[in-house]
Amino acid sequence: MISLIIFYIISALVLIGSAGVIFSRNIVYAAFSLFLALLGTAGVFVLLLAEFLAIVQILIYGGAVVTVILFALMLTKIDDFRSLSNINYWPVSAFLSLIVLITLILGVSQAKINTQNLGLVKFNDFSNDLFEYWGIPFEIASLVLLVALIGAIVILKDKGNDS
């Protein structure tokens, strides 16, 4: 019961954070709302007994992603944010997303998976699997990261004087 209450609180945090991202007029506020939402997600992870992933979430999202976004905000000086906020035909978008939401919820309710037994995925099992069966994809993922790193540098590097 308590966990349910905590879940509701955390959900509220997540949703508020998300709403902040899409509604706030100030872009820095939006970034901080995103941080809130991400932290909330980590909370959900903890509630569902996935501590390791929660830590990863906080480290990568809370630590890295939001920081990078803030850096991006700092590097792009925007004078008139108001003109940059929302497009004019937002009701259409709102309608569309509402339909998506309804669809998803309908789909979820159709699924009829109703279970309550929370269970822990043992960290040992998880890591064994990750490095045994998913070893090669995991290594490839690291390669992808490396490539992305190099790619980002290449994209941002000035090519001589032509810019």
Binding site: I87, V92, L96, S97, I99, V100, T103, G107
Partner: protein
């Protein structure tokens, strides 16, 4: 010894072919010796086989090599030895032997001397296989190889455009018949499940083949025989085939390959006898070709072409006999005609050899003094073919006339006699123009041919004289005819007298026209027969007709298809459709506005559509 070695002749000749093609290309003389040796040993083997065959306790031959074996369908090489095939084997090996010996001298100095003998070996192997093999499909196998040998030998001097065209014409014309033959063979296979000739006869005699199928397939087989034996609509290749070396004409286009068609019909006679309509057709074609070929032979100026049309005509006579189921008489005539015609061709070759390739008989004349051996043997050959009484040609022709008289009635007999008359007439015309009269060319160097060429001539001439006696055994009427069909020959005096009179009339007529040069007769002919003469000289315009059909219909159709393929299938079907995709793309590209929100919204809409489709399904 004997029949158990029956598979040796084709094998020996085949080995000789391989040896001469691959190993002795640098030494043409050795090639020729190998080839002659192979055919000589085949002939000796034939004698052994014959002796064995005539002895009362004949062993059955168990010889079989699988060629193809798919589940229950087995096609294997085997030997079928009966009087028919033994006879043919004798004819083939003998004539081939003599022709090859002759060729050593005739072809001396040719740049492809070795190759000539290689092909002769190939041809001999294939031809012997045709008559010996016991399997219809493999008979077709050898049959086509015979065609190949003929193609290579006709086109032997391929630098001459005419020779290569003639070779092509011969192969394609016979090939058209062969298509029919193959279909016929496969049809028989479809209903009997076997290619083995004796099994097929067994099944057919027990009514195992549907009557319609039997009629159709024998008809198709006969078409194949018509192609090889140059019967009426397919006869056009044989005169052109004279572009090849003359000994080749003697071997292939007189005695052996063209006889294959007759042999095939004789061999398949148990099937033909069950198909009366086809037999009627055989009679019709044979009779027509007999007269048709004779008319053209009368007017030709080229010595080899006269002989070629004469061959066509006599093959028609054999077919006629076969149409009345007279196997024995047909084969008898085949042998006699083969020997005589080979003699004539070799004689013509001897003439050409001395006259530096001259073939037009109008430029010859009076050669009887210059080349006595050639002249005498040639005359013996033509008299034999003209059917003058003591020579073998008379007896064989008479045997056929008798068959026709007994089975066909008086009308067909009458038409046959017309053909026989024509046959005598052109033979005498040829002899008179060529050997008698005045010497046309003032070439005094003309002399007798070398011994290697005259020896075969003499041998063949002796055969042409005495063969009937050998084969017919006049005293007892128990000879060759009996050998083939167990049926005693008998002579009809009335017929003998009548046909002899006809031959003599022809002799006298020819004498008047060509030696005496009687003004009255020639004028009459010139006045009344001019357009007919022109028609004959142009071979009834059949070559032109075929050429027209090929050029205007077949080739036009092919060009149309080629153009259709390029313009319709490729340019419209393929290129246009790819171009339409391209133009569609050019139109559709304007959907790409570059606005990110448009893309995002379409993504969401697409996602929704997918979801709903899935949900509905």
């Amino acid at each position: 010894m004997g029949v158990n070695l029956a598979y040796f002749p084709p094998v020996i000749c085949g080995i000789s072919f391989i040896l001469t093609v691959f190993f002795t290309r640098k030494a043409p003389l050795i090639s020729s010796l190998i080839s002659v040796f192979a055919i000589l040993s085949s002939f000796i083997l034939f004698i052994f086989i014959l002796i064995d065959f005539l002895s009362p306790n004949l062993n059955s031959i168990d010889f079989s090599i699988d060629w193809i074996d798919v589940l229950d369908t087995r096609i294997s090489w085997g030997i079928l030895l009966d009087s028919l095939s033994v006879t043919m084997l004798g004819l083939i090996t003998l004539v081939a032997l003599l022709v090859q010996v002759y060729s050593i001298s005739y072809m001396k100095g040719d740049s492809r001397f070795g190759w000539y003998f290689s092909v002769h070996s190939l041809f001999a192997a294939a031809m012997i296989a045709v008559v010996l093999v016991d399997n219809l499909l493999l008979m077709y196998f050898a049959w086509e190889l015979v065609g190949l040998g003929s193609y290579l030998l006709i086109g032997f001097w391929y630098e001459k455009r005419a020779a290569s065209e003639a070779a092509k014409k011969a192969f394609i014309t016979t090939r058209i018949g062969d298509v029919a033959l193959l279909i016929g063979i496969i049809l028989i296979f479809k209903s009997t499940g076997t290619f083995n000739i004796s099994s097929i006869f067994h099944i057919a005699n027990n009514g195992g083949i549907n009557e319609n199928i039997l009629t159709i397939s024998t008809f198709l087989i006969f078409l194949g025989a018509m192609g090889k034996s140059a019967q009426f609509p397919f006869h056009v290749w044989l005169p052109d085939a004279m572009e090849g070396p003359t000994p080749v004409s003697a071997l292939i286009h007189a005695a052996t390959m063209v006889a294959a068609g007759v042999y095939l019909v004789a061999r398949m006679m148990p099937l033909f006898s069950l198909a009366p309509y086809v037999l009627d057709f055989v009679v019709f074609i044979g009779l027509f070709t007999f007269i048709f070929g004779g008319t053209m032979a009368i007017v030709m100026h080229d010595i080899k072409r006269v002989l070629a049309y004469s061959t066509i005509s006599h093959l028609g006579l054999m077919m006629l006999s076969l149409g009345f189921m007279g196997i024995a008489s047909a084969i008898f005539h085949l042998i006699v005609h083969g020997v005589s015609k080979a003699l004539l061709f070799l004689g013509a070759g001897s003439l050409m050899h001395e006259m530096e390739g001259e073939t037009d008989i109008r430029n010859m004349g009076g050669l009887v003094n210059k080349m006595p051996i050639t002249a005498i043997t040639f005359i013996i050959g033509s008299v034999s073919l003209a059917g003058i009484i003591p020579l073998s040609g008379f007896f064989s022709k008479d045997e056929i006339l008798l068959t026709v008289f007994e089975k066909g009635g008086i009308l067909i007999l009458f038409l046959t006699l017309i053909g026989a008359f024509l046959s005598s007439l052109y033979m005498f015309r040829l002899t008179f123009i060529t050997f008698f009269g005045s010497l046309k060319s003032d070439n005094s160097k003309i002399g007798e041919s070398p011994i290697l060429m005259t020896l075969p001539l003499i041998l063949l001439a002796l055969l042409a004289i005495f063969m009937s006696a050998l084969l017919l055994e006049i005293s007892t009427f128990k000879g060759f005819i009996f050998f083939i069909s167990g049926y005693k020959a008998h002579l009809n005096l009335l017929l003998i007298v009548f046909s002899s009179i006809l031959s003599f009339v022809a002799l006298i007529l020819a004498w008047f026209i060509y030696i005496k040069d009687s003004k009255y007769l020639t004028d009459w002919f010139k006045l009344n027969m001019n357009c007919f003469y022109k028609l004959l000289l142009n071979k009834y315009y059949i070559d032109e007709l075929y050429q027209y059909v090929i050029n205007q219909i077949v080739l036009r159709f092919a060009q149309f298809i080629a153009l259709f393929d390029r313009l319709v299938v490729n340019d419209i079907g393929v290129d246009k459709s790819s171009l339409s995709v391209k133009s569609l793309g050019l139109k559709l590209k304007f959907i790409q506005t570059g606005k990110m929100h448009g893309y995002a919204i379409s993504m969401v809409i697409g996602f929704l559509i997918l979801i709903f489709t899935w949900a509905i399904l």
